[in-house]
């Protein structure tokens, strides 16, 4: 029996109706965080359906309903009226009741009495009243802030259904510390290219209008099911005749409904470059008008790769082929030249298009075959099919709006973006799309939230480059103000986790001159979600005080000093915007709105809600004004009657009520209305869905001048301060070389020879019953039972028959896998042709180490331990890491 029983005997389990007090902290009965319930055990069964929304994936759109009988949730189903999921649900959503009633949950506030910390160490929890637990936390925080707010680090991950509430992303702004870490960042290198080309956090594929889709390490929502629209959109598209080509080491569900091209890990950049080679050097097919008018490819580039700028105006220039002269990009042109080399004021220049062309001159399909393991014939054929299907020059009218129609998409995901040069691979993949005009238009990659296009030098940018570089330079001062590592990893979207943890252990190594006194991880289990577990152990041991609002007694919880037990997903009072962010079908593309939920039953245990706690903490630390202003900003309340008064104190329920009323605008619907209805939706106009309509005069930065400039500023700053990125001492040229404006192939440790004995590649993918482990999925008995008994992608390590035969392995053999970085994994093999012949497949994740979790969570393999995030191994530009390593396998004794 888990150690929980020693501290909470009377509350360990509940019979019949739930017992514990409601955790509502708000004022006013109607805003109360728990739905009112029927009295237990009185009269005939009291039964009702309560509306809610799901909390088991990245972006929780799905409307749900929970059946409550005598105060106990007994069934869950999709809300048929909800336009996102139309009554459906994925296996994770369907399993939520076993998360709500998971007996392994943290049930009562506890504090640690054993000063020793470790993965194998019993914290010897002592149960304490909630107020005492909070007081301990508040006191520690006050002490920390009295010294230096920077000595507080916040850490978050997907565990708390990251995108649900405001306070994960805004915590540091509210609390005034620059230090935060994310367990969910290193393997999520999918935000830079969308930022550059769609000015969006992530892009989505307009599958409802696409005819030819190539995925490059990207789950479209069918391989790992997403019921909020993607699965349905893919099924509809297959039925309509959309061809799917899946370029992936693993034959997933989507490949099984289309074509599978098994690619060697690390070869994705080569695949993309070969496609561009075929387009530009063999087929000579590209969308000329689009490139001339809507990209920076006509811009003139000088030999040092920078824009050639008019000495008088400072503007980039293009060549007017009609007049034979260079002009500022925003001048009147007779005919913009896309090709050609010229001399302007004695300076030799070429168009950016020529630069791109030159960069792929030698990257033929034959060359790529050696890097990818895909035949030249297949690369050529797929590119030709892609080009034909692009229907360059065609248009489509949707709801009266005419737009270019390019029903093709090369969609990169973290499978390719989290490999060597992965961030640039995504950019090069998008380049393939842009060359045929397939970006921001029907059938292609489009933005998610309404993008705000900044235009500088006529080019769209996430932020004006001059402003960005100013801030960047200002932030690059030794000692660094923070432990994010973003100074060296200049294109990092998220803090570099290695730096964040490493700087806790050894601040001086990372040019920081203070320590972390208080760490607050929430929904963040780096011991499982990341690699190099030893570094986490060191870091967590070093921080004197760690607290969390925790769902389970997982690896992270084991290192805490105080735990406030947390509501399960279903029990939270929460909102979530409705938007299809992944794969849009015709019936989900334009849906917008907001979901609302509150607990359908009395809270099962003595739990708190993260947001309410953060608000209390902020008010206690005197950061009320920052909290209120940030909340108003995040929820779009500024300038509305619902804006929060900086001087007042609010509950989260009050905040939500204001948000809901502000969002529904003239309808003014608040919590009372949402409690009854569950969600509110509206239909976005078509123009809002396609970048093309919003982009205006800005050009797409196909020639990645921005990142080139960032790289130059990185170099300048490093040389100015005389510092080198930890792990790349003596190798900074390699670091600077990554900041290229054009596609370039760099050899790397993944694609290097396998003479060192690590002759296979390990690969990993999500499965429908387990995507990110959030919502307590790893501990969910129903999901684990399905994974172990009904999933093809179960706990076994998958190996190709050719590889198995060569090593004398057969299904059922116990094996040991070692990676080039020293990580190991044990397991049982399954021989299958659904994995490339030189790869080992590790579906999802398993192998929890904490003994206080369900035994089922401890079975399987924690794949991430085969990877490396060490200084010198991670990707310098972004701080993210490779999803694949080179490994070797042998039978276990």
């Amino acid at each position: 029996m888990g150690m929980l029983s020693t501290t909470s005997t009377r509350r360990t389990f509940l019979k019949g109706a739930a017992l514990s007090a409601a955790a509502a902290l708000g004022a006013g009965l109607t805003l109360d965080g728990a739905a009112t319930l029927a009295e237990a055990d009185e009269g005939p069964a009291q039964e009702k359906w309560v509306k809610t929304f799901c909390g088991t994936c990245i972006f929780t759109n799905c409307g749900m309903e929970v059946k409550v009988v005598n105060g106990v949730a007994t069934e869950i189903r999709g809300n048929k009226d909800h336009p996102a999921n139309q009554g459906t649900m994925c296996p994770r959503g369907a399993a939520q009741l076993m998360n709500l009633y998971d007996p392994y949950r943290c049930k009562v506030p506890v504090k640690r009495t054993n000063p020793e910390k470790g993965l194998d160490v019993d914290p010897q929890w002592q149960e304490i009243p909630l107020e005492e637990a909070k007081e301990i936390i508040f006191t520690k925080m006050e002490e920390c802030y009295a010294k230096d707010p920077r000595r507080h680090m916040f850490m978050y991950g997907f565990g708390d259904t990251l995108h649900e509430g405001p306070y994960q992303k805004t915590y540091t702004a509210i609390m005034g510390t620059p230090n935060y870490a994310m367990s969910c960042g290193p393997l999520c290198e999918v935000h830079h290219a969308p930022q550059l080309f769609n000015n969006t956090f992530i892009d989505r594929v307009d599958v409802g209008h696409c005819n030819y889709l190539i995925t490059l390490g990207r789950n479209m929502g069918a391989s790992a099911a997403f019921a909020s629209g993607p699965s349905r959109a893919m099924a509809d598209a297959w039925k309509r005749g959309m061809k799917t080509v899946v370029v992936d080491p693993h034959c997933n569900v989507e490949a099984s409904h289309g074509e599978w091209l098994p690619i060697r890990p690390g070869g994705d950049m080569a695949f993309c470059m070969a496609m561009i080679n075929v387009l530009l050097h063999e087929l000579n097919v590209y969308d000329g008008p689009y490139l001339r008018e809507r990209t920076n490819l006509p811009y003139l580039i000088q030999e040092d790769q920078d824009y050639y700028r008019n000495p008088e105006t400072g503007k980039p220039m293009m060549w007017d082929a009609a007049e034979g002269v260079a002009k500022d990009y925003d001048a009147e042109f007779g005919e913009v030249a896309l090709e050609g080399a010229y001399t302007v004021n004695g300076t030799p220049v070429e168009t950016a298009f020529e630069k791109i062309k030159a960069s792929v001159k030698d990257t033929t399909p034959e060359w790529a075959e050696g890097k990818t393991g895909i035949s030249a014939e297949d690369i050529r054929r797929v590119t030709t099919e892609f080009a034909e299907a692009a229907q360059i020059g065609s248009t489509i009218v949707i709801d009266g709006v005419e737009m270019p129609y390019r029903p093709v998409c090369l969609a990169a995901g973290r499978g390719s973006a989290n490999t060597m040069q992965g961030q640039r691979t995504y950019i090069v993949a998008d380049t393939v799309n842009m060359l045929v005009g397939a970006l921001g238009v029907p059938g292609s990659l489009i933005h998610v939230e309404h993008p705000k296009f900044e235009v500088e030098d006529g080019v769209i940018l996430p932020e004006k480059l001059t402003t960005y570089l100013e801030k960047y330079d200002a932030g690059f001062t030794i000692p660094f103000n923070d432990m994010t590592g973003k100074q060296f990893s200049a294109l990092a979207r998220f803090p570099v986790l290695t730096t964040a943890m490493g700087a806790i252990v050894d601040p001086a190594k990372y040019f920081v001159d203070y320590d972390i006194d208080v760490l607050f991880p929430i929904g963040s289990n780096g011991f499982m979600a990341d690699t190099d577990r030893d570094l986490f152990v060191q870091a967590y041991k070093k921080v004197p005080f760690i607290f969390t609002t925790g769902l389970l007694m997982d690896e992270c919880s084991l290192f805490c000093d105080v735990i406030l037990p947390e509501h399960s997903s279903l029990e939270r009072q929460q909102i979530h915007p409705i938007e299809e962010i992944m794969t849009a079908g015709v019936d989900s593309l334009r849906v917008g709105g907001v979901n609302y939920k509150e607990s359908p039953v009395e809270h099962v245990y003595d739990t708190v809600q993260f947001e309410e706690f953060v608000m209390e903490l902020a008010y206690r630390l005197g950061r009320g004004p920052q909290l209120n202003m940030t909340t108003s900003g995040f929820f779009g309340l500024m300038g509305t009657p619902y804006q929060l008064d900086p001087t007042k104190r609010y509950t989260y329920a009050e905040v939500l009520d204001r948000y809901l009323k502000a969002t529904t605008k003239d309808d003014g619907k608040g919590i009372d209305w949402f409690r009854e209805n569950g969600f509110w939706t509206f239909e976005r106009p078509v123009e809002d869905c396609y970048d093309y309509c919003i982009q205006g005069a800005g050009r797409l930065p196909v020639y990645d001048h921005r990142d080139l400039m960032v790289g130059r500023h990185l170099k300048a700053n490093c040389e100015k301060w005389g510092v080198e990125q930890p792990g790349w001492e003596g190798r900074m040229d390699e670091v600077y070389a990554e900041y290229t404006p054009v596609p370039e192939w760099h050899e790397n440790s993944l694609t290097a020879s396998t003479d060192d004995g690590f002759d296979l590649y390990c690969v990993n993918w999500k499965i429908s019953p387990r995507i990110l482990g959030l919502g307590g999925a790893d501990n969910n008995v129903w999901l684990r039972e399905v994974v172990e008994n009904h999933e093809f992608d179960d706990l076994c390590i998958q190996i190709n028959p050719l590889a198995a035969e060569a090593r004398g392995l057969k299904t059922g053999d116990k094996v040991l896998v070692e990676s080039q970085f020293g990580g190991t994994a044990e397991g049982v093999v399954k021989v299958t042709g659904l994995i490339r012949e030189d790869c080992l497949g590790f579906p999802a994740q398993g192998g929890h180490v904490s003994k206080f979790l369900n035994p089922a969570a401890q079975r399987g393999t924690n794949y991430n331990q085969l990877l490396s995030a060490k200084d010198g191994d991670y990707f310098t530009v972004s701080g993210s890491i490779s999803i694949a390593s080179r490994v070797k396998i042998r039978k276990a004794e």
Partner: protein, 201 residues
């Protein structure tokens, strides 16, 4: 009037949403799956691919299980749904031997809880206590309880994220139209006339 289902394998993604939806609605015990999806590998590398086939009781129009049941525990409703009266079932398992589809599950009397390693009761499990009898046979009830309450749908077909499972009256024009698209049944040679049809990929 005969309730049945058409499952479009061209839409099925083998996600097991239906598996879990059924399990949590009916509180089936550990190891018991009235609805499940079998995913197999087809073809040979590099042309291998996954094939997923959801299965459930076929509620056969010519049900062998009904014929062979010695106590009339297994019976067929007027709307076509094949049910098991657990009070009459003697647990001879002849129906399991006769069924060509592995649709039925025998209750071996194991502890029903999903948490045998822990003490105490689980509220969800307590709320569903008594639904299963040791020594008897159970199977998919085509959500007859839901249908009888007025909601003519099944948990599995409603849950399916791709709308691959379509539930309805087989005699209706809508279902007939689907069937006419080349739908087939499992093991037609058994002459059970299943009420579950599959559309090919």
């Amino acid at each position: 009037m005969h309730y049945g289902m058409v499952i479009d394998l061209g839409r099925c993604i083998g996600c097991n949403a239906c598996t879990v939806a059924c399990k949590q609605k009916n509180a089936t015990p550990r190891g018991t799956f009235w609805c499940k999806v079998t995913t197999t590998e087809e073809g040979e590398y590099p042309k291998a691919y996954r094939k997923s086939v959801p299965t459930l009781c076929n509620h056969c129009q010519n049900a062998v299980c009904v014929a062979v049941c010695p106590t009339h525990a297994t019976y067929k409703r007027e709307d076509g749904i094949v049910m098991v009266d657990q009070d009459k079932c003697i647990g001879c398992r002849y129906c399991i031997a006769a069924c060509p589809y592995e649709a039925r599950t025998f209750d071996f009397g194991e502890d029903k809880t999903y948490f045998p390693e822990l003490e105490g009761d689980n509220p969800y499990e307590s709320a569903h206590e008594g639904a299963f009898h040791a020594g008897t046979v159970s199977k998919c009830i085509l959500c007859s309880d839901r249908i009888d309450s007025g909601d003519v749908s099944t948990a599995c077909s409603q849950a399916c994220p791709t709308h691959a499972r379509i539930f309805g009256d087989l005699d209706s024009p809508e279902m007939q139209e689907l069937i006419r698209r080349g739908a087939y049944v499992m093991r037609p040679d058994q002459r059970t006339q299943p009420a579950v049809y599959y559309l090919p990929r």
